[in-house]
């Protein structure tokens, strides 16, 4: 069996590059792009200077190790030399930097860069030594490119005075043989401020934190590398995904922490892992973070410590309360800490949550505080999040109490037994609590689904249902609320709300019967809240008709303490139902009550006014109808959809009351209104098209027709369009001929319209209109050549149709050809190319007498 590949937590350069390649996630594009840039630096005169920015553990060394690895190719080896400076090396002058570079080259290429070169500098003045070493380096390098890898470039910039930076920059500018690959913890003034010598010198790239999915891929890659088949499979399960989502909050997208967690994942015992790990953290991280903390003011240190203890993002208010300080004071400090890259924040709703920018800081600081060997909270939290209680108990039973890892499992179990909430669920919930359902991205959806599946709590299923509702995923919504309805743990109120929502989802899905059944179940539940009861009546009433609907709306209206919006909806619903039953006075009374309701919604008021306008018009009160509908249009805050409806209805009314121009103006507004529904737009287009059909020819009419016919098909549109097809067909033919005499334009226009008519099954009517138009063609000023061109245009345009649709126009086109021949010759013999039945049709069309029977 192969030995498990070694993955170093803190020094990726010690890990085999092949293993690093295997576990790489998210950064393939960045890696290949960077390799290409350095390759270009090696083989051309273009020299790149790359700087990768990311916090500790973000994967910088991993990345540059792979860049270096991928550049070790035969075609480059003769043309480049690599100097990789040690991470902790510092230089206080350009000369010392040159020495570091030369020594690195000596260690790797001793024959080409003899170590004696540096030794020979001893005793020289700095200026002379720098000059000599610079010349030696260039001479030994020959015509090759020197690729310098420098980690923690920000530290180097801190130690080099400006004068030395200028010398370095001048050397690089005067001898363009260098390419640089640098890393830094954060963007630093030495490269980002305009007054600094190296401003804009580096091509900076920020390493993004891993997303939940990236993290899962990383863990899968590690599992695959280590041949942990069970873990690999587990990570594909919903539970596995949920756990990755939960530990994501602990790791904060930091790849190094995932690497550390992965070590713990498949070990029953943590022997030989915990102690070395604690020591490593202490040795490698703590001094670094302690040093960073020393630069802060006392209050800033307290903030960092508070966030470290808390371990997860907390709002400003909580930080202020925890430190007994005002929010104003804390906010200023938080801003400074953010600018110094100690903290990061995220906005959820109105609140801003802060956490440590580097999760490793929490780990490191706690190591320092854990003098009594208290288990590291981050690892305990990780164990709590990853393992179930049963799992932890089993592992504890297998461990001797003296083993170092016993403390970790024992601490995790103690926390579980203390009645503390399930940390995994808490973490998943925290990320969702302040998120409105319509603001949930795919990652939040996964968290919500995992949480619901794991906890199986009605509240979590309900939250998932609301998210699916916002995404208009009706089947998923129905399934989620079904889990609430079927749950024994659900309260009556939870079941009632779930039934109401499931009914609404059924309704959207088109399952009206199931929807009505759900609302009926709500109505029959004892002791439910008045609001929910009222809404169930309103929704059920909306799906019923006549007396049943009126009864439901009336029940809703009679519920005391019903929400105003439900009352408004019930009155509107009943008003419209009364109208349909020709109970005009009652309809007007209900709708007027809505119009006069204090605090009525804008859309509610507008809909009530539209309804009242319809009632007034049906009663012959035209002026009142127009006044109502105009008032509806003027309601402040009205939605685009409702405004479109009102404008369309007023357009309709005005077209009936001899104000066609105003009507067209209203209808045109509908078409141009962003947010208007397709159904209303198609109605407006239809009305405009019909108006133009009756009032003459225009390019506008043609455009409107094209828009109308091109409107996406919904259930309602064929009903609107189909009756108008014969008129539209006639309009299209007349308009095309009227607006241009260019046969090419005829073909283009026909190619535009033919598919539209085909789509609406209107080719037969179009063919009919084409033949019927022949007398008008004869009366037009077009000459005989134009007649032929007209027929040719039709033949050419047919290529946009399917063969079946082309067949549908075969007879009309044959009739057109024969008719045109007749118009040109005025000789009835031209019609003899047609069979008798077609001759008869054409004769009728052309006003010729019927053929006499021989």
């Amino acid at each position: 069996m192969n030995e498990t590949p070694f993955l170093s937590h803190f020094s990726p350069q010690w890990t085999r590059p092949e293993a690093l390649e295997q576990i790489l996630v998210q950064r393939e594009s960045l890696l290949s792009d960077s390799v290409e840039k350095i390759r270009e630096s090696i083989v051309t005169g273009n020299k790149h200077h790359l700087l990768f920015i990311g916090s500790r553990g973000a994967g910088k060394t991993h990345l540059i190790t792979l860049i270096h690895h991928r550049l070790q190719q035969a075609d480059l080896l003769d043309r480049a030399r690599f100097a990789w400076l040690n991470e902790d090396e510092i230089a206080t002058s350009f000369l010392k930097l040159l020495v570091l570079i030369y020594r690195s080259l000596s260690a790797r290429y001793p024959d080409e860069f003899p170590a004696s070169t540096v030794r020979a500098l001893a005793g020289l003045e700095a200026l002379a030594a720098e000059d000599k070493l610079g010349q030696s380096l260039l001479r030994d390098l020959g015509n090759r490119t020197l690729v310098v890898l420098m980690e923690n470039l920000d530290s180097l910039f801190r130690t080099l005075p400006e004068a030395e930076l200028l010398r370095w920059r001048a050397f690089v500018q005067n001898h363009p043989v260098f390419a640089t690959i640098g890393t830094a913890q954060a963007l630093f003034s030495g490269v980002s401020e305009r007054t600094e010598p190296f401003f804009g010198f580096f091509d900076t790239r920020h390493l993004e934190p891993l997303s939940v999915e990236d993290a899962r891929l990383l863990l899968k890659n590690i599992a695959r590398l280590q041949e942990k088949t069970d873990l690999l499979e587990f990570l594909e399960t919903p539970t596995g995904k949920a756990r990755v989502a939960a530990i994501h909050d602990l790791a904060g997208g930091n790849p190094r922490l995932y690497l550390i967690f992965s070590e713990f994942l498949n070990r029953t015992a943590l022997n030989e892992l915990v102690r070395p790990f604690e020591e490593m953290v202490d040795r490698q991280l703590t001094s670094y973070y302690q040093e960073r903390l020393r630069w802060l003011t006392p209050l800033q240190r307290e903030i960092v410590q508070l966030l470290c203890h808390h371990g997860r993002p907390i709002p400003v208010k909580q930080i202020a309360e925890g430190l007994f300080t005002s929010q104003g004071t804390i906010s200023g400090q938080l801003r400074q800490l953010r600018e110094m890259h100690y903290l990061r924040f995220q906005s959820l709703g109105r609140e801003v949550f802060y956490e440590l920018a580097e999760p490793l800081m929490r780990l490191a600081l706690q190591v320092k505080e854990t003098h009594n060997r208290k288990p590291l909270a981050l690892i305990v939290d990780f164990l709590r999040v990853w393992h179930d209680r049963q799992d932890i108990e089993q592992r504890l039973a297998q461990l001797g109490s003296a083993s170092p890892d016993h403390r970790y499992y024992a601490e995790a179990l103690a926390l579980l037994e203390s009645g503390a909430p399930n940390l995994r669920h808490e973490i998943l919930r925290e990320g969702l609590d302040n998120l409105s359902p319509d603001a949930c991205d795919d990652e939040a959806l996964i968290r919500a689904r995992c949480l619901a599946e794991e906890s199986d709590l009605p509240a979590d299923w309900s939250r998932f249902g609301w998210i699916q509702w916002a995404r208009k995923e009706w089947t998923e919504t129905i399934q989620a609320f079904t889990r609430v309805i079927d749950s024994k743990a659900a309260s009556v109120a939870e079941v009632a709300l779930a039934l109401n929502m499931r009914g609404a989802a059924f309704s959207r899905f088109g399952s009206t019967e199931e929807a009505i059944e759900d609302w009926t179940r709500v109505i029959r539940l004892p002791g439910i809240m008045p609001g929910l009861l009222a809404w169930s009546f309103v929704q059920r009433g909306t799906h019923l008709d006549g007396k049943e609907a009126i009864a439901d709306f009336t029940s809703a209206i009679e519920i005391q303490d019903a929400p105003a919006l439900a009352l408004e909806s019930a009155l509107i619903g009943r008003g419209f139902q009364y109208g349909r039953a020709e109970r005009h006075d009652e309809a007007i009374a209900d709708l007027s009550r809505v119009v006069d309701m204090p605090g009525v919604s804008a859309d509610g008021a507008a809909l009530a006014l539209i309804g009242r306008s319809q009632q007034n018009f049906s009663q012959g009160r035209e002026d009142e109808a127009i006044a109502d509908i105009s008032r509806a249009i003027g309601v402040e805050g009205i939605s685009a959809e409702r405004l479109a409806l009102a404008l369309c209805y007023r357009g309709h009314l005005l077209s009936l009351t001899d104000e066609p121009e105003t009507a067209v103006a209203d209808l045109t507004k509908v078409i141009q209104l962003p947010g208007a529904s397709t159904v209303v737009i198609s109605q407006a287009l239809s009305l405009i098209a019909l108006f133009h059909a009756h009032s003459g020819l225009s390019e506008l009419a043609l455009q409107n027709l094209a828009s109308l016919l091109a409107t996406p098909c919904t259930v309602a549109i064929p009903k609107v369009i189909t009756p108008g097809i014969p008129v539209y067909a006639e309009q299209v033919i007349q308009n095309i001929l009227a607006h241009t005499t260019d046969p090419q334009r005829w073909t283009t226009r026909l190619r535009e319209f033919l598919p539209l008519f085909a789509r609406h099954g209107g080719l037969a009517q179009l063919g009919d209109a084409l033949v019927q138009h022949l007398p008008k063609l004869a009366a037009s000023p077009l000459n005989h050549d134009a007649y032929d061109a007209w027929a040719t245009a039709w033949s050419e345009a047919l290529d946009v149709l399917s063969p079946e649709d082309q067949d549908r126009l075969e007879i009309p086109l044959r009739l057109l050809r024969a008719g045109i021949d007749y118009l040109k010759t005025q000789h009835a013999g031209s019609l003899l190319v047609l069979p008798a039945e077609e001759r008869r049709i054409l004769r009728q069309t052309l006003g010729l007498p019927a053929e006499t029977q021989e």
Partner: protein
Amino acid sequence: MRHVKYHHPQMSSNPGGQLAPNQIVGRDDLIASMWSVLKGRSIYMNDLRRIGKTQIMVKMHAAPPADWVTAKCDLGGIHTAAEFATQAYRLSAAALSRTTRVLRSMHKLLGQAGGLEIAGLVKLPDGTPAPWKEVLRRTFADIEEAMCDQGPGHRMLFLWDEVPFLLSNISHRESPEVAMQVLDMLRALGQDHDRIRLLLTGSIGLHHVLTGLKAQGYNGSPLNRMDHIQPGPLTPKHGVELARTLLQGDGIRCDDWDRCATELASAVGHVPFYIHRLVSRLPKADATTPKTIQDLLDREITADTNDWDLQHYRDRLRPYYGPDEKLALGVLDAVAVNEPLDFQAIRREVNMSGAVDDERLRALLKLLCQDHYLTRTPENQYRFYLSLIRRWWRLNRSLS
């Protein structure tokens, strides 16, 4: 849109790095005119940082006209007059060794062996550093002689980058007086040697260093006899051409190259460095559109911490303009919203109370142009020198 024909090789973005001369594009006309000017006199080239001054030098150095010899050097790392003189000598020796006998007069000074023993400084045979003025004087004289030997019309050009840093370094390390002497020496040598020309530039304006030296008693005008050239951004045609080439070279996915290239180049004011930078930061996974370009740039320049440092243009108003800081803010706000504006319109915007004297406003406008905030159009109107700065100004100051 009409497609532009491209004559340069495949290129990918390289913001801040060193470009091979054939990848420095859009400067050919300017360079031709500079060679023409150099026949008559030396040039001082001044403009904003990262506008591409060094790259112009690189391209000139790579392909000088037939009768020119060039020597190019970044002087920012030099801190003493002696180092500077040594560098001038060394550059000349390297440049002339390819074309003619080397520097006879200098060899005489250094002796047969001394001239080869250079480790940071030119030394006399006794090991003491050679007097820097003498080194410069003899080096220039040798070059003049060598050029005359070459034939009529032959000249040598020193392309000296980071001259302001050089003077500032000498002023700090040695004394302001030595820096003044270097300036005077250069002016005198330039006058005495018709076969030698200088092209001086730097990241910071030389006038800032001169102001400091004048405060110490310097009263020379070393730049008076030089031609002043401000290269500015690329022309829109060349800016778009560069953007398009880089978008394609970087493998950016894009449905409409011409629109995206036009949008990108114009958003960053056709400055090649910013074109390189913005292209390099476009995400490769998603298709790029004019909107994604605009959004990315806005995010980049307004991020909490960013490496565009356009805040610099706001922060330096106080040190530059002192009591006129507020007036400068008013002028820049007005021009940012409604550019281009003529003097009368600016006066109306900033002088509502009538408290600002016209001459004071004129003087300020002149300074704002000198410091590359504004530029004056041929129609005598003012607009932002770089559209990128205007863009940031509007975002930063929440101007509509």
